[in-house]
Amino acid sequence: MNIFDPAIFPILTADGLTNGAVYALLSLALVLVFAVTRVIFVPQGEFVMFGTLTLASLQLGRVPGTLTLLLVLLAISTVLNVVEALRRGDGRSAGISGVSGVALGAGLWALTTTLAAAKAPLLVQVLLTLLLVVPLGPLLYRVVFQPLRNASVLVLLIASVALHLVLVGLGLVFFGPEGSRTPAFAEGNTVLGGVTLSNQSLLVIMVSALLMVGLYYFFDRTLTGKALRATAVNRMGARLVGIRPTAAGSLAFTVAALIGALSGLLIGPSIAVSYDTGFLIGLKGFVGAIIGGLVSYPVAALGALLVGLIESYASFSLSQWKEVIVFTLILPVLLWRSLSSKHHDEEDE
């Protein structure tokens, strides 16, 4: 059957747009993190995996391994903060850091174990999942990337890849090798212009669109958002007007983790996510981000949608070659970028 068959084409397109919407969200997170911190954040897809699988664990009434990771990172970052404050001779903020770190850890532990055992309703579990996954963003920034903040893009990229391996390895330890699905947030189908769409797909597209609008509002209208953009444009300049680059980096990673976790919750009902699924999903966001040159948000999002569509068409006619097609697509894109844009070296003052 031809992919342009009227019985197939709309379904493939809808599928492509649904996945594409998630890739687009991820590509936005990647552009944001790169612009603010120069980190090419390869582990973005791991937030997706942690999002889905944390919820899946909670569904089974288990305490997700995410809690362990969160507590360990919290402990390390608390120690780092305390040591740093003591070195400055600031005993008071060392004390505050230490006490709040311990209190936060104990609180999260108590909350998670209670709610997991109680098999709380879906909405509560979703919120708990976000509570467990989103803080991973700023904590990973604090522990892994903040000490490297003066390093070159290349060093940051290598650290990023190392972190990706660690997180995938932990995913396997925490959640096992099997894939899991999470329950759908919306049942049933809707017929739109002769095309039947599952409500879950519609939900994914709508939530993604809402999130993008939210991000636009955040970056365009709020002071914090503007501060992030300022840091992205000119790190030194932002510093001179009082924006702390580490605070901006931490915030960028928080937004990235939030986007990742939400993406995981959105795709959880439609595909079985296992510990290594996140990486491929994240990389498809990357292809979009690269189409946008790692700087342009709208082009990145459109590129990611395109990736979703191409993947969907390819999976129908050439399913074995789906990944090859998607990842080889990056080469003509890079060539086109290389020939069309004037290149600059980072060293030029």
Binding site: A162, V166, L280, L283, V324, L331, L334, S338, S341, E346
Partner: protein
């Protein structure tokens, strides 16, 4: 013999004994280390030396391995023919990837290699002709003089010979003209281009070279295992090769070897120890490895090798015996135009940094380009040297229209420059830094350098560089690290580097900035000597005393425009110049 050479010989001796005495299991491990190390040495040239990186080296190994697997099993080729065949195929793929990405910033290449690493894995796995995910079996052994290398001990020697050749070629390359230009790439392209290197072409060449190293390793792997499947060529393995380079020290050939040994050994230990400690539910060694790499990047970013190398003194390098000297560039006719700038305009968005400026420099002159901060001097300098070409107008250098020429072509016309912010390579010796200036005088390419067939040229370069170091008074420190010099001496070193190019026209960008009084005097004397020897000089400088007493003519710029021209006395008497510098009318100033 230097202590380091002795150590290398000891290492070679140990490598020679090991395959004969170790148990077979360890011999296989040793072969694995040698194969990995060969790939990593190629990666060191790319990552630590040229400042680029790749996560796709395992995929390149795969190309080499699959090429030999297919050609030997399906077409009955001799393995010794499939080795170059695999290298050619790999080089083609790498050239394609490099051409697509290397014009852009350095991080696009690694991203492309991630994508291509994944893609290739699926291509291997989904191609029935390549055996799909089960792979290809029955690859014939390599034979030498009719002797089949089926025994692991014999094969280990083959792998070690390959590694030794790889290490030697890499060291040869690094101590050559091309190798020095490669090192220059890491800190950007401006210096290398200013001395005539085509940095884009050089980047592609380095990337292809590192891929060819991996291809040879893949060939070894295929004939060691006698079987290939997609798994050992996946992205994760490619990442591991990069980790080996990072852990050992990506800037050092021996660091790469050390990294390959350490990670292979570590993996063995962890795979044995961790499951008994933590259970068999996960790939714990990957987690540990990832954490180790992050810690290394945070606390020893240059890897472990430089920490070890400190204990072994480098010894004094030996100079090569000189057989040829480079011919001296014919001197331009005295009084002819060296530089002619006509109505040059440089527009940056809404800002006009240089507006309709015209001036010229004649052979044998020292001309000063002065003006207050923001006058457009540096922009003008960049227009002339091709770093940032003019929006309108023309620049003629030594009789050729150079308005649109890239920096490297302008350099080859006989123009050499220094930099306002010193751009030396602090880890290299004064001699090596100076020799970089003679890049355009040599011809030997990468292959000649890998084989050390360019020693005559290298000797001539050494001679030329030493002569220039002598000229600026730094000859006795030729083997010191450039980073150990005081700023004034670094500026002199930059002049020596520029002079090594044997320029007809020397451009100096604020050579006296940061110099002490006495040093300034020496600089003036040096520049006068140069003029007497026929070098034409354009100098951008802030120090009025120095300029006024040195130059034949001055061009004064202000606010992007030409304010005045003439000899020092005329310029000193020019009211507009006074106003620009003192900011007041003479009447007001007197009042």
């Amino acid at each position: 013999m230097t202590p380091r050479l002795i150590l290398a010989l000891v290492a070679a001796l140990i490598a020679l004994v090991l395959p004969a005495v170790l148990p077979v299991f360890q011999v296989t491990l040793l072969t694995n280390v040698a194969i990995a190390a060969l790939t990593v040495v190629g990666l060191v040239l790319l990552t630590g030396v040229a400042g680029l990186t790749s996560f796709g080296q395992a995929a390149f190994m795969g190309v080499g391995a699959y090429t030999t697997a297919l050609l030997t099993t399906a077409y009955g080729w001799n393995p010794w023919l499939t080795l170059p065949a695999g290298m050619i195929v790999t080089a083609g793929v790498a050239a394609l990837l490099g051409l697509a990405t290397l014009r852009m910033q350095g991080h696009y290449l690694p991203l492309a290699t991630i994508a291509w690493g994944i893609s290739l894995y699926y291509v291997f796995g989904n191609s029935p002709a390549l055996g799909g995910f089960t792979g290809l079996r029955g690859i014939p052994p390599v034979s030498i003089f009719g002797l089949d290398l089926t025994d692991p001990r014999r094969f280990a020697y083959l792998a070690l010979v390959f590694l030794a050749l790889g290490i030697m070629a890499a060291q040869f390359l690094l101590s050559s003209r091309v190798g020095r230009a490669m090192r220059a790439l890491r800190s950007g392209t401006v210096v290398a281009e200013a001395f005539g290197a085509n940095t884009f072409s050089l980047r592609v060449q380095v990337f292809v070279l590192s891929a060819v190293f991996a291809s040879a390793a893949g060939w070894l792997y295929a004939h060691q295992q006698r079987f290939v499947n997609p798994t050992p060529f996946g992205l994760n393995v490619g990442i591991e090769y990069l980790f080996m380079a990072v852990l050992g020290g990506a800037g050092y050939v021996w660091g790469g070897v050390a990294g390959a040994i350490l990670i292979t050994a570590l993996r063995e230990v962890l795979q044995n120890v961790l499951p008994t400690l933590l259970g068999t539910g996960g790939n714990y060694e990957v987690i540990v490895l990832g954490i180790i790499i992050i810690l290394v990047l945070q606390f020893a970013r240059r890897g472990l090798w430089p920490l070890a190398e400190r204990w072994v003194p480098a010894g004094t390098p030996r100079l090569l015996a000189r057989a040829i000297t480079f011919p001296h560039r014919p001197d331009p006719v005295p009084g002819s135009f060296i530089l002619n700038v006509q109505n040059a305009v440089k527009q940056f968005g809404g800002l006009r940094a240089v507006s309709e400026v015209s001036f010229d420099v004649k052979a044998g002159e020292i001309v000063g380009l002065i003006g207050p901060n923001g006058a457009g001097k540096s922009t003008m300098f960049n227009l002339i040297t091709g770093v940032n070409p003019a929006t309108r107008g023309s620049v003629t250098l030594l009789g050729r229209d150079a308005t649109r020429l890239p920096a490297r072509t302008i350099h080859r016309l006989g123009v050499a420059r220094t930099f306002q912010h010193v751009r030396l390579f602090p880890e290299l010796s004064l001699l090596e830094n100076t020799m970089m200036g003679g890049y355009a005088r040599g011809k030997a390419g990468m292959i000649a350098s890998l084989l050390h067939l360019e020693r005559r040229e290298e000797a001539a370069l050494q001679g030329a560089a030493l002569a220039q170091l002598e000229r600026v008074g730094l000859r006795d420190r030729a083997f010191d690290q450039a980073g150990n010099l005081a700023l004034g001496q670094q500026r002199l070193l930059e002049i020596a580097r520029a002079l090594t190019a044997d320029p007809a026209f020397l451009l100096l960008d604020e050579p006296a900035a940061g110099l002490r009084y006495g040093e300034k005097g020496e600089l003036s004397a040096l520049l006068r000597r140069l003029r007497d020897e026929g070098v034409t000089v354009l100098i951008v400088e802030h120090d009025m005393d120095l300029v006024m007493n040195l130059v034949d003519r001055l061009v004064v710029m202000n606010g992007g425009q030409e304010l005045a021209q003439g000899n020092p006395q005329q310029v000193r008497d020019n009211p507009a110049v006074r106003e620009a510098y003192l900011g007041v009318d003479i009447e007001e100033g007197a009042a």
